[in-house]
C-alpha cells in the first residue's frame, strides 16, 4: 500500500468523527485518541518486528515474548486481585502455554523456526490466554461469592477445600471456554478470520491461508483449555488455609 493510499484511508477516521459531532455523541475525543494510539503503537511494533526479523537473533525473540507475557499478565491480574499471588499464577500459566505450544510447533516442524512465525503465533496465544484468564477469573470469583453457602456446607460435612469449590471451579472453567468453542463453530460462515483475510490480501493462496488458520484455531483450543484449567487449579488452594477454612479476601 502506498503512503498516498494510507493518507486517503484517513477518510474512514473522519466519517465517525463527523457523525459523532453532528449527532452530539461526544465520541470525537475518544475516537481521535484511539486513532492516534493505534497509529503510534502499530508503527512502533512494525519497526520493532522489522528489526527483530532482520537481526535473526534468538535473544530478541525471547525479549518480545517476555514483553508480551508481562503485558498480558499485568492486564489480566486486575480481575483476580481477590486471589492471593494471582500475578505469578497468571504469568506461570502464560509461560507454560507459550513453552508448550512452541515446543510442539517447532519440535514437529509444524511451523518454520523463524521470528516471522514464532512472534505472531506467540502473540495470538498469549493474547488469547489473557482473554481466557480474564473470563475465567471474573466467573470464578463471582461463582465462589454467590455460592459461599455451598462451600460452607461441604466443609461442614467433612469435605476438602477442593471438594468445596469443585462445582464452582468446573462451571467457571467451562463457561470461560464456551466463547472460544462457539466462535469456532461458525467461523468462515459469517466472517473470515482476520489473520486468514490478511494472508489472502497479502497474496497467499486461499488454501494455504485456510491451512494456517486451522492451525491457529487448534492452538486456540489448547490455549483456552489450558489457561482456564491451570489457572483454576493454581487459584483455588489459596482461598483456604491449612485448617481448611475459607480465607477472607480483603
Amino acid at each position: 500500500m502506498s503512503t498516498m493510499a494510507l493518507i486517503f484511508s484517513l477518510i474512514f477516521v473522519l466519517i465517525p468523527i463527523v457523525l459523532s459531532k453532528t449527532l452530539n455523541l461526544g465520541l470525537e475525543k475518544d475516537a481521535t485518541i484511539a486513532v492516534i494510539r493505534s497509529i503510534i503503537q502499530l508503527l512502533v511494533v512494525g519497526y520493532i518486528l522489522k528489526f527483530v526479523f532482520d537481526s535473526k537473533s534468538i535473544i530478541y525473540i525471547f525479549l518480545m515474548v517476555a514483553v508480551m507475557i508481562i503485558a498480558a499478565t499485568l492486564n489480566a491480574r486486575k480481575k483476580g486481585a481477590a486471589i492471593k499471588g494471582i500475578t505469578w499464577k497468571i504469568a506461570v500459566t502464560l509461560i507454560f502455554i507459550e513453552v508448550l505450544t512452541q515446543s510442539i510447533l517447532l519440535g514437529f516442524n509444524i511451523t518454520p523456526h523463524t521470528a516471522q512465525y514464532i512472534i505472531p503465533i506467540s502473540g495470538m496465544m498469549i493474547g488469547n490466554g489473557m482473554v481466557l484468564a480474564i473470563l475465567f477469573l471474573n466467573r470464578f470469583i463471582a461463582e465462589t461469592e454467590s455460592h459461599q453457602d455451598q462451600t460452607e456446607l461441604i466443609l461442614s460435612l467433612g469435605g476438602t477445600p477442593k471438594q468445596a469449590v469443585h462445582t464452582q471451579l468446573m462451571t467457571s472453567i467451562k463457561a470461560s471456554m464456551i466463547p472460544t468453542i462457539e466462535s469456532q463453530k461458525t467461523i468462515g460462515l459469517v466472517q473470515l478470520p482476520g489473520m486468514m483475510s490478511g494472508q489472502i490480501i497479502a497474496g497467499a493462496s486461499p488454501v494455504q491461508a485456510v491451512q494456517f488458520q486451522l492451525l491457529v484455531l487448534f492452538l486456540l483450543l489448547t490455549t483456552a483449555s489450558i489457561t482456564s484449567i491451570m489457572l483454576g487449579f493454581l487459584s483455588y488452594p489459596t482461598m483456604f488455609n491449612k485448617r481448611m477454612q475459607v480465607v477472607r479476601s480483603k
Binding site: E152, I154, S156, L157, G158, G159, Q163, R243, M244
Partner: protein
C-alpha cells in the same frame, strides 16, 4: 449408630477465654464455659449477637484469635479438620442444597469420602426426619423451607456426629413441622447420647427442649445455666430481651 457412654458432668465442648474478631472488630469476647456431654444446650440472643460465629468455632469453620476450645478434652487444633467436622456435625441456618435429588443430598457426606449411600439407608434417614420415601427422587429445588431443613438435618446425621450444632433450624417451619423437629432432635439426643448445641430465637422452644441455655448479646455471654433461668432472669438486659421475645 451406637449409644455412646455419656458423662453428663463432662464438657463435650469447652471454651477457655475465647476471642474472635474480624479485621480488628471484636465479634466474640471472653467466651468461657462448657457444653456438657449428652445434653441439649440452647443458644439464645438477639440477631447479630455472635451465635452463628460461636457454632462455627466449634466445628473449625473459624478459629479463635486467642483462647482455646477443647473438644472432648482435646484441644481443637489437634484435630484433623475433616475428622473434627465429622465428629462435630452442623446443620446450617440456610439449609443449602446441592443441585439434584434429595437422595443426592443425603448421600453427599458419604460421596465426599468416595462412598455410596444405599437406598434403604436413605429411606431410613427420611423416615427419621418424618419424610416419606417418595421424597428420595424429588428435586431438592422443589422442597419447601421445612422439608429442606429436614433433609439438611438428615444429611448431617449421615456422618454420625457425636456433637450436633443446629443453627435456627426451625425458624422457617410451621408449628407442626417445628414440633416434629423438636421431637426428632430430642430423640437423637436420648437414643444416641449426641450432645446438642441449638441456636434458636424461640424462647419457648429453648425452655421445652434444652436443659441448659446460654444467653448471648453483642458478642458476650450474659447469662448461662438451666433453661428455667429464662423464666426469671437475674440480669436486667436478659430480662428486657426475654420480655420482648416471650411477651
Amino acid at each position: 449408630m451406637l449409644h455412646k457412654e455419656v458423662n453428663r458432668m463432662k464438657p463435650a465442648i469447652q471454651f477457655k477465654d475465647v476471642n474472635y474478631s474480624i479485621d480488628g472488630q471484636p465479634i466474640l469476647r471472653n467466651i468461657s464455659g462448657a457444653f456438657y456431654d449428652g445434653e441439649i444446650t440452647t443458644l439464645v440472643g438477639p440477631s447479630g449477637a455472635g451465635k452463628t460465629t460461636l457454632l462455627k468455632l466449634c466445628n473449625g469453620l473459624l478459629s479463635p484469635n486467642d483462647g482455646d476450645i477443647m473438644i472432648h478434652d482435646q484441644t481443637i487444633n489437634d484435630y484433623d479438620p475433616v475428622e473434627l467436622r465429622r465428629t462435630v456435625g452442623m446443620a446450617l441456618q440456610s439449609a443449602p442444597m446441592i443441585d439434584g435429588s434429595v437422595h443426592k443430598n443425603l448421600a453427599l457426606p458419604l460421596e465426599l469420602q468416595g462412598k455410596r449411600l444405599p437406598d434403604i439407608q436413605a429411606i431410613d434417614l427420611l423416615n427419621d426426619v418424618g419424610l416419606s420415601e417418595d421424597f428420595l427422587q424429588r428435586n431438592s429445588k422443589e422442597l419447601s423451607g421445612g422439608q429442606r431443613q429436614k433433609v439438611s438435618i438428615a444429611r448431617t446425621l449421615v456422618n454420625h456426629p457425636q456433637i450436633l450444632l443446629l443453627d435456627e433450624i426451625t425458624s422457617s417451619l410451621d408449628q407442626v413441622s417445628q414440633k416434629e423437629i423438636e421431637e426428632l432432635i430430642v430423640k437423637i439426643n436420648r437414643k444416641y447420647g449426641v450432645t446438642i448445641v441449638w441456636i434458636t430465637h424461640d424462647l419457648k422452644q429453648a425452655l421445652n427442649v434444652g436443659t441448659y441455655t446460654w444467653v448471648m448479646m453483642a458478642g458476650e455471654i450474659v447469662e448461662t445455666g438451666k433453661s428455667e433461668l429464662l423464666e426469671s432472669p437475674s440480669n436486667e438486659r436478659v430480662r428486657q430481651f426475654v420480655k420482648g421475645e416471650l411477651g
